[in-house]
Symmetry: C2
Amino acid sequence: MHLVACMMRGMALEHAILVSLAEKSASGYDLARRFDKSIGFFWKATHQQIYKVLARMEGDEWIAATPVEEPGRPAKKVYALTPTGRAELARWTTEPTPIETLRSEFAVKIRGMNFGDRGAVVVDIARQRERHVDRLAYYEADCTKHFPDPTALGDADLPAYLVLRGGIRTEQTYIDWCDEMLTALGHEKETR
Amino acid sequence: MHLVACMMRGMALEHAILVSLAEKSASGYDLARRFDKSIGFFWKATHQQIYKVLARMEGDEWIAATPVEEPGRPAKKVYALTPTGRAELARWTTEPTPIETLRSEFAVKIRGMNFGDRGAVVVDIARQRERHVDRLAYYEADCTKHFPDPTALGDADLPAYLVLRGGIRTEQTYIDWCDEMLTALGHEKETR
DNA sequence: AGATACATGTAAAATGTTACATGATTTT
DNA sequence: AAAATCATGTAACATTTTACATGTATCT
């Protein structure tokens, strides 16, 4: 009997990398930086993880590397999609996306606050709120910068814009939720 | 040189289980069912994972098992927090929660839609929207059932209520985002 | 008779995180 | 002279997912 050559895989980081490389060819290092911003807003990856997956994807011939040497710089390998990679990316877009399972340690902590230090949890909520205010400001600046006129968006720009809109909505929701909790937990009475 | 006895661990599922057992003692099987609903709305875990972590937590003496035999049923082990477990849970509530990193395959797919089948992605958006409509309805029913009068909530009920509110806000946001995308992608024109 | 609920696990594979490792160049 | 940026990886460990494994009791 033959072994099945193409094992089922999580198909997660692979596809995020395919999308990123489809937008623009890049080295592992470049990708690592992209996963710290833009794409990284909704999919995080460290450079170690990226190099490993990149090697696997090169083995599967989804991508191909071109060595690039610039004087006064370490040599780098710039990856680009192969026809196989482009086909895989196209195939993946036709697949129904599994429903997202949210996994929130913060929510677990809220739920457990009566079994510990309630005051500390309230402080933590206020802290989380601040982080999300920061992120919202960052996203909105990004949105204004890249899409100054959202009514005049072309087909090419629409996807990135819509994803950013999702980020903005998510952050706003987080902030509103924190506010609701802080009010319910009597934070207002203490600070005013 | 001595080895550090208490290795740093993800401290993720452990604490979700501590919270759940603090609310009410349970067997692995009971916990698996809770992680399919209530607690599972914001933290998923399979029974295999739960049994493994439960064994580890018992080894660390965070929890202790009592065998319970009911006639006509397989024997089960009911776990309860030990004083050590209760202390660990309390300690954890004082820790600042790491900022959540959202990881959304759906967002990656939106971003990549120009490199594949745009129509299929639009169908996928509509499908995701439906799922979130279902979840929202489920959460709202749950909320009405358990907290018919949110203005008269006691301290004991507040955490579970606030977490549910987070779930409701999250689902509503998802739906609104899907609507924004469907409109932007010209879905309305096609269907009316 | 077959499906579902109850009940608990082991094993293998995939994925992700943290620590370690190296070395050149540019900025402070 | 030290720190940060550029550039690529290996190794160890932890976590998560999927498949396998077993057996009773109840419901349809």
